[in-house]
């Protein structure tokens, strides 16, 4: 008999049993939530708990893995398997777990500090490998848990506890970084739009490969209002650009603004009535990431709207599938890996026998 996989008999059973009809309540744990009242994290948690039961995955097959930060408390509040790890390293645990157990649905929760400061490299590498999992990066442009220092997404010149005279660090754009990391699914959403969040979470979960989702999240205590005016419902339409595959880049309260290209450069276009023909059309499936990159660079300071939605969604073999395939192919070629083959490996090629 061949050695059992990491998963026990139970796993196999669970994975094959028809998933019971789950509801949000099934994903609420018995732990008291310890975020500040008014923190954007609540809404994100709630959206995730709404989406989980809709994915057709048995509850016991979910694993939520986080680093350290306010956001990283997330796993405690979800009644699945959970792993609150160490600062910045969640992608590493996720990679090992997914390789060992491709049957699991893995969610990584990280913050702008956890994921982009100390953990930036792991994020880059999990994305380039395309490990199948969903990364939720809670971007509040501040270190919440350690009480308000600058983060890699904090604005230039921001005054924080560690930068009382203003930060001299130029911020990172998480979407650009994900693109440079060859991620196959990249999206942005925000805490004050639960419907959009839920839609994006669902798409991210359904994507095979690493799904990277940046979530604008308000830290009411240390960085309140960081995403005004788009977090505010009343001003959102004029300042956000909702990306939809195959649809023109039109926005504005009365949908009278759009983006067109001048050469490779985007421009804002104002119009009345139907959008002109030269409005750019979103293609989230473009294999060349340059399109999505260009979108990621649209700068509100320069009068552009902030794109929300799916920047990129392309297909590439997942890491764990490639690994499984190597195992299968190697078995086809060199034998099924039986105990007797292992004995042969132990024995090696050159032996000698000392007679009794």
């Amino acid at each position: 008999m061949e050695p059992g996989n990491g998963g026990s008999a139970a796993t196999t059973t669970a994975a094959t049993a028809a998933p019971a009809a789950l509801t949000k309540k099934d994903f609420v744990s018995n732990q008291d939530i310890r975020w500040c009242p008014g923190c954007g994290d609540y809404a994100i948690l709630s959206s995730a708990q709404n989406v989980f039961p809709k994915l057709g995955i048995p509850r016991e097959n979910f694993v939520v893995i986080s680093g350290i930060g306010c956001s990283s408390r997330f796993p405690y509040y979800v009644n699945t398997y959970g792993f609150h790890s160490i600062h910045g390293r969640a992608p590493t645990f996720a990679t090992g777990l997914k390789l060992a157990r491709p049957d699991l649905s893995i969610w990584i929760v990280t913050g702008d500090g956890d994921g982009l400061s100390i953990g930036g490299n792991h994020l880059v590498h999990i994305m380039r490998r395309n490990v199948d999992c969903t990364i939720l990066l809670f971007n509040n442009r501040i270190y919440g848990l350690t009480k308000g220092q600058t983060s890699p997404t904090s604005e230039f010149n921001k005054k924080t506890k560690s930068t009382p005279l203003g930060s001299i660090d130029y911020p990172i754009n998480p979407i650009s970084l994900a693109l440079a990391s060859e991620a196959t699914f990249i999206a942005r959403t925000l805490d004050t739009d639960p419907k959009h969040m839920a839609r994006i979470f669902q798409q991210a979960a359904e994507h095979k490969g690493t799904s990277f989702v940046e979530i604008y999240q308000n830290c009411i205590i240390f960085n309140d209002g960081a995403f005004e005016p788009i977090s505010d419902k009343t001003t959102r339409a004029d300042n956000a650009l909702f990306l939809d595959h195959g649809r023109p880049l039109v926005y504005g309260k009365d949908s009278h603004q759009a983006i067109r290209l001048n050469g490779w450069q985007p421009e804002v276009l104002t119009f009345d009535g139907t959008p002109p023909a030269n409005v750019a059309v979103h293609d989230e499936t473009a294999v060349d990431p340059s399109w999505a990159y260009l979108l990621s660079r649209m700068d509100p300071q320069a009068g552009f709207p902030v794109p929300l939605g799916v920047f990129r969604r392309v297909t590439r073999d997942t890491y764990e599938n490639l690994m499984t395939r190597q195992i299968e192919e190697s078995r086809k070629k060199s034998g099924p890996g039986s105990a007797s083959e292992l004995q042969a490996l132990l024995t090696g090629e050159d032996t000698w026998t000392v007679p009794a």
Binding site: G6, A9, T95, L97, R331, T347, T353
Partner: protein
């Protein structure tokens, strides 16, 4: 005197060292000679000595590569203190190695390589083969390059390509000198170069030419012969420490009914474990070359959470990087094997040299009270056993286990009695899948082992959360309660301490009590036991105790130490085990410390034993010792 007539002298053991430029193929030459000797039934022990990591310019001192093999007709434990025979392919090899050759030893040199440029690079102002400075050795000047070129006249290869066969010439000559058959090497050449008939032909001819050169020239007066060793019956192979370690991990997974997950990041001298395991996908072995060592241990912990047999391996700087995550694994109480193939330090240090100076790091190198189990193989072959043992402990006690190997064990080779897989113990694994009622309690411990249950994702009803914040015992919930914290700190320690009930007592080599006890751990085993054996043969009241378990110590250790008047601890560090013994048992242990990136010689330990002037053995014991 014709070739046929030369006498063949029987001797007990011979130490040969092959030395040449990195490009000269000395590792291959040494390995071939070793394989042949092993198959012939000699006991063997080897010591490869690599140059600094990058290939230095040909002919330079920094580029010298060496391979030493000790082969014998009795039970040996080290590659030998000083070579009896030294083969040097160029002046740099002579310069860096001749100091080790025993007085009167045989020195075979490729005289063709002793030309002006090479001499200058090696720092010789005149040719040492000619200036009489080597008069204390039995010097043989063999124009190997020319002889090879002659032997390969018919062969269409270029001069440079032909030149690369000169190591086989040297090997052939040494085979002749020690009366060894060449079949095994000829077969190896056949297999290796079957796609390249010219190279096959060239190497075969060079090998034969070397052998015939010995036979036909009159230069060599004597041949030597080392007969079979008295080795326990069984089937053997030669194995290095890293090979054995990799196989031990695989067998542990097999005997646990599990797949092996190995995550690593290349680093000398641990990389070969990753290389070896990455060949074995068909056994379900998943290897992951991570972006760094932190990622590697992270992935291993993640896989362990998922129920895999998870291991990571590294050395020096890489182990330092893993310490934060080790602390997490200790909090999570998940099974994890961490292999540290120690090398010279601190910092980047001496990457290709051996040392055993990470013991205290293994014990204490994490923030706060973070105990884990530490074990250490004593020989290359034992790397198999201890890798297996590491998984047994890790799974049974739900704990990280550190295996301390070192560069000497990792690359050194010895004969190894091939175990039967089915005779290896089963490693029982239990993933809970059903419970009576109520919530699952991830930190409810087994009262015997104090291990918590290994419930894995995918098991309905066992959903739970773990993390690095202190947790309440039993429930595993986050807890800031002061009493719980103290309880958990002490419980984590008690769990590791309790492993002492489950490991063998330390054996004593020699007598159970007496004047001097030599205590060691890890790769110093061979040198220590050989030195003690010698001292005992001289009637000295000296015994040895070698620790494979460093945390916890075997239960009989304190008692054993008390039965000796003095304790000597030889270590390739500044006294790390010594410190632990002093602290734990308040014994005034004496240190013998060598931190040169090189293993101990038997004589070095022997000298220290004599310096301590131990008593003579009581006569009764003496009789037993000699018998």
């Amino acid at each position: 005197m014709s070739a046929k007539e030369r006498r063949i002298e029987d001797i007990d053991h011979i130490v040969i060292r092959f030395a040449g430029d990195s490009g000269d193929g000395m590792q291959l030459t040494g390995t071939q000679f070793t394989d042949t000797s092993a198959i012939l039934g000699n006991d063997i022990s080897t010591l490869p000595d690599f140059p600094a990591e990058i290939r230095a310019p040909a002919g330079s001192l920094a580029g010298v590569s060496g391979y030493q093999v000790n082969f014998s007709n009795f039970d040996i434990r080290t590659p030998g203190d000083a070579p009896n025979v030294l083969v040097v392919m160029n002046p740099a090899a002579l310069k860096t190695n001749v100091g080790d050759l025993e007085p009167g030893g045989i020195l075979i040199s490729n005289s063709d390589a002793f030309v002006a440029d090479n001499l200058r690079q090696a720092g010789y102002t005149q040719n040492p083969l000619e200036d009489g400075t080597l008069r204390n050795f039995r010097l043989y000047k063999v124009p190997i390059t020319k002889l090879v070129d002659n032997a390969l006249k018919e062969n269409p290869l270029s001069f440079r390509q032909k030149e690369r066969c000169k190591n086989f010439f040297a090997l052939g000559l040494v085979y002749w000198m020690f009366n060894r058959p060449m079949e095994s090497t000829l077969k190896w050449i056949q297999d290796k170069f079957k796609k390249n008939p010219d190279v096959l032909d060239a190497n075969t001819r060079a090998l034969n030419a070397g052998f015939y050169y010995g036979e036909t020239t009159e230069a060599f007066e004597t041949r030597y012969q080392v007969r079979k060793a008295m080795i326990a019956p069984g089937t053997y192979r030669k194995i290095t420490g890293n090979e054995a370690l990799a196989l031990g991990l695989m067998c542990a997974a097999e005997r646990a009914g599990k797949h092996l997950f190995m995550a690593g990041y290349p680093i000398t001298p641990a990389s070969d474990i990753l290389h070896e395991l990455s060949k074995h996908r068909r056994f379900g072995v998943k290897t992951f070359q991570a972006e760094d060592e932190i990622s590697a241990i992270g992935a291993a912990i993640g896989a362990a959470f998922g129920g895999a047999m998870a291991v990571t391996a590294s050395s020096g700087p890489g182990i330092a990087l893993k310490t934060e995550a080790m602390g997490l694994a200790i909090m999570l109480e998940l099974p994890l094997v961490i292999c540290n193939i120690q090398r010279g330090g601190p910092s980047t240090g001496l990457p290709t040299k051996t040392e055993q100076a990470d013991l205290l790091q293994a014990m204490f190198g994490r923030n706060s009270e973070s105990p884990l189990a530490v074990i250490a193989p004593a020989t290359p072959g034992e790397c198999f056993t201890m890798a297996f043992e590491a998984f047994r402990i890790a799974v049974k006690y739900m704990t990280p286990v550190m295996v301390l190997s070192d560069g000497y064990l990792a690359n050194g080779a010895e004969p190894w009695a091939i175990p039967k897989i089915e005779s290896l113990p089963v490693i029982p694994v239990h993933h809970p899948t059903s419970k009576t009622d109520g919530a699952f309690l991830p930190y409810q411990r087994d009262p015997g082992t104090l291990a918590r249950p290994w419930a894995v994702p995918g098991t309905a009803g066992f959903e739970h959360r773990i993390g690095g914040i202190e947790k309440a015992d039993v429930t595993g919930n986050v807890s800031y309660d002061p009493d719980n914290h103290e309880h958990m700190v002490r419980t984590r320690k008690a769990k590791i301490d309790g492993i002492a009930n489950d490991i063998p007592h330390a054996d004593i080599f020699g007598s159970p009590e007496g004047d001097l006890l030599v205590v060691g751990w890890g790769s110093t085993y061979g040198a220590i036991v050989s030195a003690v054996e010698k001292a005992r043969a001289e009637g000295l009241d000296v015994s040895a105790l070698h620790l494979r378990y460093l945390n916890p110590f075997p239960k009989n250790l304190g008692d054993a130490l008390k039965r000796f008047r003095r304790v000597l601890v030889p270590e390739m560090n500044l006294g790390q085990l010594r410190m632990l013994l002093r602290a734990e048992f308040l014994v005034d242990a004496i240190g013998l410390n060598k931190v040169k990136g090189q293993p101990f010689k038997i004589a070095e330990i022997g000298r220290k034993i004599h310096d301590l002037n131990p008593k003579q053995m009581p006569s009764a014991r003496r009789a037993a010792a000699v018998a």
